[in-house]
């Protein structure tokens, strides 16, 4: 009997236990579970589960060296308005935590100003977003992980783990939306974790965020307008 782990939230499917409450009897082999199975904890699809191989050495990262060099030598241009806006909106949240109300409002004002100056470079369809996201997952994220590991930069590694999981889930949803279109969301709700950005589709949000583990009051519904 084998075990499979969800790469997004860490939920473990144990063949010997099954998921009786979902109609999956104990002893059900992984390959006998339908392809439309999703993680009961976070909604990740079956293909994001990995076999837990207890004998295997810990996973090693192999990445395209050219990609690392391309990213590291990329011209460090001035920060774009969108980036300054993101820095300042996050500093506003930081000031809120430090109970600095006037400073929080000042950072919000600056963030809003730069947000109004930030416009999408290309027209941009959901398909274009999916392509950039693919590139994040295959190049930019592994390159950043290698750099952060080399420096034992724990803070950077922590944020990269979250953004890798959130990106993988987003990619899955973009792929589903490309196939199913508006039907994907017509009769259900969509939520975004206000801390890490994890996107969840379902009637009610999970008790805790499957990625960053904050309680559900921080997982905010996105309304249909």
């Amino acid at each position: 009997m084998r075990k499979f782990k969800c790469s997004i939230c860490g939920y473990v499917y144990d063949e010997s236990v099954g998921i009786p409450e979902k109609g999956i009897a104990p002893g059900t082999k992984w390959e006998d579970i339908p392809d439309d199975f999703t993680c009961p904890m976070c909604g990740a699809p079956k293909n994001l589960f990995e076999l837990i191989d207890e004998a295997a050495p810990s996973a090693t990262v192999s990445i395209n060296d050219d990609a690392v060099h391309a990213d590291n030598t990329e011209d460090l241009k001035e920060l774009s308005p969108g980036e300054i806006s993101a820095i300042c909106s996050n500093l506003a949240r930081g000031c809120e935590k430090q109970r600095l109300t006037a400073e929080m409002e000042a950072f919000r004002k600056i963030a809003d100003y730069f947000k109004s100056k930030a416009v999408a470079e290309s027209g941009g369809t959901l398909d274009d977003i999916a392509k950039m996201l693919d590139d994040d997952l295959t190049n930019r994220l592994p390159a950043a992980n290698v750099a952060a590991k080399a420096d034992a930069d724990r803070g950077a590694l922590r944020s990269l783990i979250w953004s890798e999981k959130v990106s993988m889930m987003m990619k899955t949803l973009l792929d589903r939306f490309a196939k199913e279109g508006d039907k994907m969301l017509e009769n259900t709700n969509i939520y975004v974790c206000d801390i890490c950005g994890f996107i969840y589709i379902g009637e009610t949000p999970p008790e805790i965020c499957p990625v960053c583990k904050v309680p559900k009051f921080q997982i905010i519904q996105v309304e249909r307008r």
């Binding site: 690392v68 990213d71 590291n72 990329e74 460090l76 969108g82 980036e83 993101a86 820095i87 909106s89 996050n90 500093l91 930081g94 000031c95 430090q98 600095l100 400073e103 409002e105 000042a106 950072f107 004002k109 600056i110 416009v119 999408a120 027209g123 941009g124 959901l126 274009d128 950039m132 996201l133 994040d136 930019r140 390159a143 950043a144 750099a147 952060a148 080399a150 420096d151 950077a156 922590r158 944020s159 990269l160 979250w162 953004s163 959130v166 990106s167 987003m170 973009l174 994907m184 017509e186 969509i190 975004v192 801390i195 890490c196 950005g197 994890f198 996107i199 996105v222 249909r224 307008r225």
Partner: protein
């Protein structure tokens, strides 16, 4: 270092009220009166059975050093997230379908949260850090009529 009450945790046990030497915790709006609070006193923090009161630090630790290699790699990723956010926001404005707009709004917000988090870990975590001051100082040159220069000046004076 004044005390702060987390209203989410406060279960109105009101022990803070009995131990506070100055009455700083005795307020209608549940917010501790910092003008009465004695910095470093800790009486209410130690008395609260709900663990709802903590001290706001007067000083924050310096920003940890970040190497150029890490910052450059984070930059490439964060810039991509910011661009995806902007593309998604453009779809929110232009799409005819309410469901597509809703989905794009979720994508935009998710990208913003990721970008913010990566930027936070690339040297912009604390509002009081040198890197933030440099960023604000550079903004003083902005002469656009709609630019909120007063906000930048307030931050440079107070942080």
């Amino acid at each position: 270092m004044p005390a702060y009450r987390n209203i989410r945790l406060c279960s109105k046990d009101c022990l803070c009220l009995y131990v506070c030497p100055t009455g700083a915790t005795d307020t209608e709006n549940s917010i501790i009166d910092v003008t009465k609070c004695i910095p470093g006193c800790m009486a209410c923090v130690n008395a609260c059975p709900s663990g709802a009161i903590s001290m706001v630090p007067g000083k924050y630790p310096p920003q940890q050093p970040k190497t150029e290699a890490v910052v450059a790699a984070q930059r490439a990723l964060e810039l991509s997230k910011v661009q995806q956010e902007q593309m998604a926001n453009a779809i929110v404005v232009s799409s005819d379908s309410a469901v597509t707009r809703q989905f794009a709004a979720a994508i935009a917000k998710s990208n913003l949260r990721m970008a913010e988090d990566i930027l936070r870990e690339s040297g912009y975590m604390l509002p009081q850090s040198d890197k933030v001051r440099e960023l604000l100082e550079a903004m003083l040159d902005n002469t656009a009529p709609d630019f909120p220069k007063d906000a930048v000046e307030l931050l440079l004076n107070q942080l």
